[in-house]
Symmetry: none
């Protein structure tokens, strides 16, 4: 379910975080669902339990999952996003970085737009009722 690229420069634990976030956003796993235990997940991904544990901990700090003592780890029932100034600044910085990369790849506005749309739809579902991301 989650693909790990051991040769990637992004740490394994972060790939796990991203993978789980994606599974939740795509509603492949839902609030209340139980995640594989740390050891199970470690076996599945042929990695170390500590690495999985670190990912789970990070996700718990983000209130995305929660652990029930001795019973396992679950997708949080109620995730209430809180818009922090700090996060927003980081987000814009990252976006700027991304757009600069796009520029240096020779992409123009239209091309960026198309890719943006493609990734968005792939992540958050079909392009509902004509409501394109670019309208």
């Amino acid at each position: 379910m989650i693909n790990i690229d051991a040769r990637s420069s992004t740490p394994i634990y972060e790939q796990i975080i991203l993978g789980i976030k994606e599974l939740i956003i795509k509603e492949i796993i839902s609030p209340g669902d139980k995640l594989p235990s740390v050891r199970e997940m470690a076996n599945m991904l042929t990695t170390n339990p500590q690495t999985v544990s670190k990912a789970y901990n990070e996700l718990e700090r983000l209130n995305i999952i929660e652990t029930l003592r001795g019973k396992g780890t679950y997708v949080s029932m109620e995730y209430k996003p809180k818009l922090e100034e700090e996060k927003m600044l980081k987000f814009k910085k990252d976006l700027k970085k991304l757009l600069m990369d796009a520029h240096y790849m020779g992409l123009n506005e239209n091309q960026i737009n198309l890719i943006f749309k493609e990734v968005y739809v792939n992540l958050l579902g079909t392009d509902h009722e004509g409501g394109s991301i670019n309208e």
Copy 2:
């Protein structure tokens, strides 16, 4: 001209790369312009010359700048971007990550769009004659 944040998690050498890219994109420096020497730049940024050197090397590898032996470092006259498959994949991956973050910050399509537009215009100049990123 270039802001360095030693506390940031992005390496300093990468912040330098981003800074120079931004200066070029914003046309504050242009093809053919001479860049400060490694040592000058290091002084300006109060950082280590080795760090600046690493940034210059990377930029040269990307054909964004070029060093003329004994004469200094210049912004490349002819930078021909080529869309490499690999870069594109990384780009989409980064974009996906960004959109997931946005989702978990509670941003909806419209809000993402607005921010996207804001950052784009801020980077690449005023919204020129109807050519909005979102049309």
Copy 3:
């Protein structure tokens, strides 16, 4: 009557201990009163009987409750608190930790005092005849 939060970092058995202590302090249950059996309590709290059992054992060790063989578990008639050196040290350590947290939350003396008073009164009843915690 007792609130259990499975997500909390404090073990469930300890939450039960705290809950029973609170009921006694607030005189909702009194010395001599019978406590629900382990199984009853486990049903009430939708938790594991072993967990309740552990809480009861701990409370008995503290002389706060006592089990009469075959008759059930009761709130102790004569509980004689003794100030053990060890407990006192732990108490001060915990208090220190709490005050450091308060400090890092930006609370000043007055604010800490107010909260202290609020919690105390809420726990041990109305502010009886001038006997404020802060006088």
Copy 4:
């Protein structure tokens, strides 16, 4: 400088966190000061670098210290506390727990007050200009 009790039930990494917080609050180390490197600290405390690292990471998440890439770890220059509802609730819960313990140790209001005062003064300096914590 920091005392570690390997037999304590509180994890070593948390003892390190508490120790550093205390050193800062008592102004034994100040904003801008460099902390011992992870390895140095590990040697000083005869513990594992990973354990120290975990403590440093936690402190960084709290904005209490910050790491400068490749240069070491420093006490944050500007710590701006932000009063969150969540933290406040946890604080009151912990305080309630503490007061219940105090009650069960047989401490009355005055005694609790005295201990409170003692710990406070010990932590945050001498009792300035008659401004007792309990006025």
